[in-house]
């Protein structure tokens, strides 16, 4: 569906992509995770022929659209007809209304008039812009612009959706609605590839996550495994409260008392069961247990090292 091999992109003095490999299968919802400046947008722009990488190859729908610094424009245009793309930090034409915007975008796909009108109505409903459909985009809030950007990406009912940080600027309700839309796409058998630097954004919706750091894919796995891996790398912090004091001497974890019957345990792996047994052996009971996950930034920092 989407295959990238050894992609290299150098901007004047920055090696933004350093031999990137990607393989996204049909029907996957793929979360493309990485810290700021990792090369997420650079990857996405390359997929659409918007920038020119220097080396490597890109295949879309089984057709090689790019190799060694050159796009095959004919193949690229054919592939783009089946793709929906939502750029990062973009605005649409200020002087058009949502209806006019979607109309002109639909024209680029040569969608017949009747179908076009029906689709525009549906999409404005879907992204919640029905009420403002005849207001100029120039007067829109950031969240409203983001919703319209999503709508324009869906106009051609794309088989592959490529979204660059689609959830920035959305309120919690917007994020929930967005995740619903992604789930709908998955149900309809579409492939979704989207980038984010926030773990919570890819949770719940992605079946596969790839982590890019400094222009290379460092990790690719299911979201559960990635999280486990993240936690293993960053270490677990577990905070417990017991009904009476516990003597932790002789354990291999580092334990700091936080107050009366309250302890912080730092461990390499998931030791929740072990803690439970240890406390029970002393005849005490755990009242509360909290696992503090490391932030994505902390993990990224460790991965880079």
């Amino acid at each position: 569906m989407l295959k990238v091999e050894n992609l290299v992109k150098v901007y004047k003095d920055v090696r933004a992509l350093d031999g990137l490999n990607l393989d996204v299968k049909q029907g996957q919802v793929y979360g493309f995770l990485g810290p700021n400046g990792a090369g997420k947008s650079t990857t996405i722009l390359s997929l659409l022929g918007l920038i020119f990488p220097q080396e490597g190859s890109i295949s879309l729908f089984g057709e090689e659209v790019f190799r060694d610094g050159k796009y095959d424009e004919g193949k690229l245009v054919k592939a783009k007809a089946r793709i929906g793309y939502m750029p990062e930090h973009a605005t649409l034409w200020d002087f058009l209304t949502p209806v006019q915007t979607l109309d002109i975008i639909a024209d680029a796909f040569k969608i017949p008039k009747a179908e076009k009108e029906k689709r525009i109505g549906e999409l404005l409903d879907l992204v919640g812009l029905k009420e403002v459909r005849n207001r100029k985009v120039g007067k829109f809030s950031k969240g409203m612009r983001q919703r319209l950007l999503l709508a324009q990406a869906l106009i051609n009912d794309p088989e592959l959706l490529i979204l660059d940080e689609p959830m920035t600027g959305l309120d919690p309700k917007g994020i929930a609605e967005f995740k619903d839309i992604i789930r709908e796409q998955k149900k309809a058998g579409k492939t979704v590839f989207f980038s984010s630097h926030i773990l919570a954004h890819v949770e719940e919706v992605c079946d596969t996550v790839g982590v890019i750091v400094k222009g290379k894919l460092r990790l690719e796995d299911s979201i559960e495994n990635i999280k486990r891996e993240f936690l293993r790398k960053a270490g677990y912090t577990i905070i417990i409260e017991t009904n009476r004091p516990v003597d932790f001497s002789g354990v291999e974890w580092s334990v700091t008392p936080l107050g009366e019957n309250k302890y912080r345990v730092l461990a390499e792996g998931d030791v929740r069961e072990e803690i439970h047994d240890f406390v029970a052996n002393q005849g005490a009971k755990i009242l509360t247990m909290q696992v503090k996950e490391p932030s994505l930034e902390e993990i990224f920092l460790k991965m880079v090292k």
Binding site: L45, V77, K78, K80, P87, A90, L92
Partner: protein, 287 residues
């Protein structure tokens, strides 16, 4: 190509630049015609009125719409990259060359309409002064429009080169203004001075010889100023010694035929600029 055209045409017609510049230009037309009328419009012959119209429109439209064309071109691509609209557009199933071709066509049409406005207002002015609206007048006004359009297109194409080289659209706008200042004001005056100096070597040079020298210098040293090249051609539309009551009118076809080099420069340089601008657009990163 049609898609890019539609979008750009709608967009261009909505820019403030366009209406502000055209507004100033048309407003300047009114007092000029009033002054001519008050200082003896009755003595002006038909030929004189037509000769005046052509010189006047070449100067005014060439300057104002020339600046407009340069500014339009200089922000055509970079501002769209800044806003992100270009990435949205080019993620659709369109070829880059079709998109830029459509944009260029839209800019050309908008500039043609601007020139038409200028010439229509100018023609109304000379009719008001008393010149009859003859077939020759209409033909020559249209030919003048085509020549000026060529000059404007060249300036747009020059603007595209700036637009692909300078990332920030506000810097590009500044650069375009400086360039307009150099092209339309500084260089013509420098070359004018050089012509004058050269003529000093020959103390008994006549009026006609001086005009010839001026043409030669303009062709040689101002080949990159399209409005000056149009000026050389329109200079032959009529022969006058400055007195509007004593003019022989040769017409535009005669003037164009007499100056093939200048027409060639206009067309040739336009193609070169367009080639460079398009080539750069086809291979540039749109971020």
């Amino acid at each position: 190509m049609l898609w890019g055209f539609q979008l750009e045409f709608r967009q261009s017609l909505r820019t403030k630049k366009l209406w502000v510049i055209l507004g100033i230009m048309v407003l300047l037309y009114i007092p000029v015609f009033y002054i001519i009328k008050s200082i003896g419009g009755s003595e002006i012959t038909v030929e004189g009125a037509m000769a005046f119209l052509i010189q006047f429109v070449t100067g005014m439209a060439g300057f104002f719409i020339g600046i407009l064309a340069l500014l339009m071109g200089a922000t055509a691509i970079n501002s769209e990259i800044e806003k992100g609209t270009l990435r949205v557009a080019m993620s659709k199933p369109l070829k880059r060359v079709g998109y830029i071709g459509g944009k260029f066509l839209a800019h050309s049409v908008v500039l043609f309409l601007a020139l038409l406005l200028s010439t229509v207002v100018g023609t109304l002015g000379v009719v008001w002064l008393g010149a009859p609206l003859t077939a020759v007048l209409v033909r020559d006004v249209l030919l003048l429009n085509m020549l000026l359009l060529l000059a404007m297109v060249q300036l747009v194409a020059l603007g595209y080169i700036i637009s692909t080289l300078v990332k920030s659209s506000s810097s590009a706008l500044g650069l375009a203004l400086v360039l307009a200042f150099v092209l339309f004001l500084i260089m013509p005056n420098v070359v004018g001075y050089l012509t004058f100096k050269a003529s000093m070597n020959n103390p008994n040079m006549g009026h006609d010889e001086y005009i010839e020298l001026q043409k030669e210098y303009t062709t040689k040293y101002l080949f990159y100023v399209p409005t000056s090249q149009v000026g050389v051609i329109t200079g032959d539309v009529s022969n006058t010694d400055g007195d509007l009551a004593n003019v022989t009118y040769n017409g535009m076809p005669y003037a164009i035929k007499k100056n093939p080099a200048n027409l060639g420069i206009l067309i040739g340089l336009t193609l070169v600029y367009l080639g460079i601008g398009f080539y750069r657009f086809l291979r540039m990163d749109l971020r």
